[in-house]
Amino acid sequence: MTDAPDGTGRSQVPGPAAGDEGAVARQAPLPEGLPPDANRRLAELEDRPGHKGMFTSDLSVNEFLLIKEVGFHPLGFVMGSSIYHLGIQTRRWSQSQELTKLTGAMYEARQLAMDRMDAEATELGADGVVGVRLDVNYYEWGSDTAEFIAVGTAVKSEDGRSYRNRQGKPFTSDLSGQDFWVLMQTGHVPLGLVMGTCVYHIAHRGVGQTLRNAGRNVELPNFTQALYEARELAMTRMQDEANELDASGIVGVRLEEKTHMWGDHTIEFLSLGTAVADAATAGHTIPQPQTIISLDG
């Protein structure tokens, strides 16, 4: 990812810099296609002569009901994973700055997991993936190593209409079954789970600054400015992804902050949301909610 957030999208995120000390490096490239175990698992889900398929999903019964009601059918639980070694990057004690190598690493690792989940969904012929969850796990056996996981339920439209996005990929979304149903009622369709990240080092205060402000409650403009910049970078990158999908908007934006294993002054700002497009036909109306009173105790 470049220093300036000038429309950086997924394709512009740099991979590991070869030969760079401390750069993040993917050691053993995975095969182009899906792993054999994934192929076997997915093959069991598909209908074919002599084999009756079935679906798996992590949807609750109610979510399943709503997904069916809105005209989709679950195909299978899909996932993608990437175990990534996060390199080191020197940072100046007294300077607030983006740590671009770590930003690139956190972004690429999630993207690899998402791409592999997408590949599983494509293998099933899905139109989209709902209920996507992105997690990061750390293990004792790997210092500076993290596993990035993306899981969700692949779904397909029952009326034969394609809901794939302009990149020809199944849409992804972190919406629950209930939210998916509501979104479709508004005349919008999901296009993809979009994200932007920024790993930022917040400068330490110098002795002079600390002494000048001793005993005073005042704004610390340098801190404010640094955190502002970091969040804006993450959100701008998320919006750039949405623009690439030709989205009309992003719903459910979340701004998460984690220090991971880097200490208090280095923070990852992760912005996530579901890009949507307005697909309502003329005269589309949103159903009026009804007032109810629960008779449950």
């Binding site: 955190l227 908007g249 992003i250």
Partner: protein, 323 residues
């Protein structure tokens, strides 16, 4: 804007940071609303324009360097804090022993510098968020979330405010845009009830409680030696338990009084009152009381709601269809 620690005050005096301008001029709108709140927003004729935010990092000290806390003078006399605000209360030591070493008082007083810092930090964050909404030519900001969190380095806190800027087609655009903590159906019901949001209102009141007496503490060794244990012995007419109650009540009263001054003739809707203690030392408490809500104004008479339809939930509400 290139952030460095060495430079001072690089935030713009007015308007929004350059980084925010870059984001807000991007194409797609963003929204921090959930899908259900987004649907309600469209249903009310509101078009989301963008996720707007404001931040302020403040140095946060419980002690003032310039005589704010007061201190003990000759003969054990207490010099009251110079900025104790509207509330000061003192108790005399029941043992009648007075010396420079003997802290003969129990004392509660208002921490005005902490209140002013809170108001400054909260106000800056909120104003920056509103500036972003104005940049988008928004009618209002809904679903506001504000919080105050400690930041790296200790002694610093960050005030955060975020929400979704919306525009109401064909409606006059108030200046500044209206703000509210409400969104979705709660906001829709507010309109149905004949009220419109004006702004968020919030205040914080803080009271410091110095509740120890050394003679009392030493005499109550058999009661466990702790200041709370000592107070439970009841050797003193006015012990810390009563003092804490009075300090809490004072903080709540101050918060209520101040928020009334922000309301004018309007109403505070969905008020939340949070109170927490920080034990600075033995018998030394700081109490913070935060009161916030949405300031709303009646614009029409109340229309009765449609008669609700009785429902019985057949499943666990968690993840279920029924609300």
């Amino acid at each position: 804007m290139t952030p460095t620690a060495g430079a001072e005050a690089e935030l713009p005096e007015e308007g929004i940071p350059e980084a925010a301008t870059r984001r807000l001029t991007s194409g797609a709108w963003t929204s921090g609303l959930s899908v259900t709140d987004f649907a309600s927003c469209l249903d009310m004729g509101m078009q989301p324009l963008g996720y707007v935010q404001g931040y302020a990092v403040m140095q946060w000290s419980w002690f003032m360097a310039t005589g704010g806390m007061g201190g003990f003078g000759l003969g054990g006399t207490w010099n009251a804090p110079t900025r104790h605000g509207q509330y000061v209360e003192q108790w005399r030591c029941p043992h009648g022993f007075v010396s420079a070493e003997h802290r003969m008082y129990g004392m509660n007083y208002e921490l005005t510098w902490l209140e002013q810092s809170w108001a400054t930090g909260w106000g800056l964050a909120m104003q920056r968020m509103i500036d972003e909404a104005s940049e988008l030519e928004a009618t209002g900001v809904i679903g506001i979330i504000d919080e105050m969190r400690p930041l790296a380095g200790g002694g610093t806190v960050e005030f955060r405010a975020s929400g979704t800027a919306v525009r109401v087609a064909d409606a006059p655009r108030p200046q500044p845009p209206f703000t509210t903590y409400l969104s979705g159906q709660r906001l829709a019901k507010l309109f149905e009830a004949g009220f419109a949001p004006v702004s968020v209102a919030a205040t914080m009141a803080s009271v410091r409680m110095l509740g120890y007496c050394i003679t009392h503490y030493q005499l109550a060794g058999a009661a466990g030696g702790s200041w709370y244990g000592a107070s439970a012995g009841g050797a003193s007419g006015v012990g810390p338990v009563d003092q804490v109650n009075r300090a809490e009540a004072a903080a709540r009263r101050l918060a209520r009084e101040r928020i009334r001054t922000q309301l004018g003739a309007d109403v505070l809707h969905g008020a939340t009152l949070e109170q927490f203690h920080r034990e600075i030392g033995e018998g030394d408490l700081s109490i913070q009381c935060t009161l916030k809500g949405s300031r709303v104004r009646q614009f029409k008479a109340f229309d009765p709601l449609p008669e609700p339809r009785p429902v019985v939930r057949l499943s666990d509400p968690v993840g279920g269809i029924a609300p």
